[in-house]
């Protein structure tokens, strides 16, 4: 995978197929980006499990926090890394030791570790780096257009409302975007 530029279909397939996300570095501070992403992905119907040793045993947005990936008592589809790039190596090692293994390693905006990515890809996992799942979900659903953001795509298809709401758009599973 070219980690400088991801095809929309690659990101869409990941967001479509993953339901359980472990978020390493999730913050309880309501103005931190990791809290935003946690809240947004929960609203979009994902199960998001916070991982943060300092908050272990407490709840963030009603979700029990674990100290490490290996403490999570259920299978996870995706590990979202909200930590410094150097920390990604160890987190990928932890993820690869899980049984069953997650399918995706996602590193947040500004987080990039090519060695860790190569290791995960060699083990058959998909990797995304230096991207935010909230921004990508907002871009592919069309919601982020309300904020004047350039989605770098055009479409003559009607956006799909999600969750029975009117100010929430979804990915429209099973449809092509263009």
């Amino acid at each position: 995978m070219n980690h400088d530029s991801y095809p929309d279909a690659y990101i869409r397939e990941i967001l479509d197929s993953c339901r359980v996300i472990a978020m390493v570095g999730a913050s309880a501070n309501t103005v931190r980006p990791s809290y935003f992403v946690l809240k947004y992905m929960l609203e979009k119907g994902y199960r998001v499990i916070p991982v943060n040793p300092g908050q272990a045993g407490k709840d963030i947005l009603g979700q029990r926090v674990y100290a490490s990936l290996s403490d999570i008592p259920e299978p996870i589809d995706m590990v979202d890394i909200f930590r410094a790039s150097e920390a990604a190596d160890g987190i990928v090692d932890e993820a690869l030791a899980l049984e069953p293994r997650p399918k995706v390693i996602w590193m947040q905006l500004s987080v990039r570790n090519d060695e860790a990515a190569a290791k995960a890809e060699a083990a058959g996992l998909k990797v995304v780096m230096n991207r935010c799942p909230k921004i990508e979900y907002g871009r592919l659903s069309g919601e982020i257009a309300w904020a004047g953001v350039n989605r770098r795509t055009v479409s003559s298809k009607r956006p799909v409302l999600s969750g029975g709401g009117f100010q929430r758009l979804g990915l429209g599973k099973g449809r092509t975007s263009n």
Partner: protein
């Protein structure tokens, strides 16, 4: 269309930002003529106010019709995001309000729209923001104007009214060395003729009133974020790099990645200064943009024909149009605006101030008014109108001396445009 095919300029002009309406399927962009939007529930409202969800609250902060204009201009300029506002002047005010603190300075090229010179010299002084003037035709003058208080550099890509094409790359290098963003007003060129981000600009502003809208029917402005500048470095832009008191301590620069500047302009500048664009104007502007490339091609072809006619007219002392081979700025036009030099240029009428007044009084097809970038051909004598309030020296350095006539060539038949100027000059 395959996912990785990058749409071309004409396709983006028509489609960027505008999918069918999610609730009705309406294909043209609906005019969401409403002040406010209901929340789905209390949690949704809290998420919107906390910037944790994307959605609409109040048209002073965002509106779905205005959002189509925003994404479309961002796509055409190659930026990451945009913000539509009430006017080009509002765009400049909000950009500077986001970048500057009281006591800060910015550098601007003197070759600017007269209204911008006023705004920078007088209105901004009341905010304790200080403009240092440089010469847009001399890159070294920008280097010399840099001080530790400099926070931005501002230029027009094609300068109004003189037809000057500015060396964007040279000035971008000065900005980079100074560690400040380069702001380019791309109004006269439009993104069809020039894309400043490709030459090192960090922020683009537009008076959408002009060629983007193109029909002289709506005032509007757009701010485009290039996504290129690192706002978190050195803490020189605290609006982006410091915790924001009115958003519970959020740091906008780390929360919104490479479109943080556009978001800051919206959720602080537009929210607090209030210069919102009307959804109806946004609709007219997005409709205008659909034909931008067709209009610009005709504008430029007509402008060349008119400039050639004037160059050989006995009552014309000089013509300043970068689209003419041999013009002082022709080489820069070929580099930065290879599809054409635009539709706005100046010429000098023999007989000075009085002759200039006569020409603008005698036209029959041209409209004598203070605008540019209309389908109609427009004419003005800057010394007696737009630049009247400037000193004689400021007038001359802004390209608005006593004999100067500015024209904005429309998309009528070129023979009719030329015939009108011919008769107006004959009676001057």
């Amino acid at each position: 269309m395959s996912e990785d095919h990058v749409p071309g300029f004409n396709t983006l002009s028509i489609h960027a930002g505008a999918q069918p309406d999610p609730t009705t399927g309406a294909r043209a962009t609906p005019i969401y003529q409403t002040t406010s939007f209901v929340f789905e529930d209390v949690d949704h409202a809290a998420s919107l106010f906390g910037l944790q969800a994307f959605g609409n609250i109040y048209t002073r902060i965002g509106n779905p019709t205005c959002a189509v204009l925003e994404e479309r201009v961002a796509a055409l300029e190659g930026g990451t995001a945009a913000l539509a506002v009430a006017s080009g002047h509002a765009a400049q005010l909000i950009v500077m309000h986001t970048l500057l603190q009281p006591g800060d300075e910015f550098i601007a090229g003197t070759q600017l729209y007269g209204g911008s010179i006023n705004q920078f010299n007088h209105a901004f002084k009341k905010f304790d923001w200080h403009v240092a003037w440089a010469d847009s035709t001399d890159v070294s003058s920008f280097e010399k104007a840099v001080t530790p208080k400099t926070k931005a550099i501002f230029i027009e890509s094609v300068a109004n009214p003189g037809g000057v094409v500015v060396d964007i790359e040279g000035i971008a290098q000065v900005a980079r060395r100074a560690g400040v963003p380069l702001i380019v007003d791309n109004t006269l060129a439009s993104p069809y003729l020039c894309r400043p981000f490709e030459h090192g600009a960090d922020i683009v502003v537009h008076s959408a009133t002009k060629f983007l809208g193109g029909h002289g029917n709506s005032i509007g402005g757009v701010i485009v974020d290039g996504g290129t500048f690192n706002w978190m470095r050195e803490g020189r832009y605290p609006t982006l790099s410091e915790p924001c008191e009115s958003y519970q301590g959020m740091v906008l620069g780390e929360t919104f990645g490479n479109f943080a500047f556009a978001i800051a302009c919206r959720v602080l500048g537009l929210r607090d200064l209030g210069a919102a664009l009307s959804p109806f104007n946004a609709f007219l502007l997005v409709t205008g943009i659909e034909t931008l490339s067709l209009r610009m091609d005709r504008h430029c072809a007509n402008a060349v024909a008119v400039a050639e006619f004037l160059s050989s007219h006995p009552k014309v002392a000089w013509v300043s149009y970068s689209g003419l081979p041999g013009d002082r700025y022709h080489a820069l036009q070929q580099k930065y605006c290879p599809k054409g030099g635009g539709a706005v240029f100046t010429f000098g009428v023999k007989g000075g101030y009085d002759a200039g007044v006569k020409v603008v009084s005698n036209v029959q097809l041209f409209s004598h008014l203070a605008n540019i970038g209309d389908t109609r051909s427009l004419i003005i004598h800057p010394a007696s109108t737009t630049h009247r309030q400037l000193s004689d020296q400021q007038k001359t350095s802004a390209g608005a001396g006593p004999d100067v006539i500015r024209v904005s060539i429309g998309i009528e038949d070129k023979e009719d445009i030329i015939a009108d100027l011919d008769q107006a000059l004959a009676s001057a």
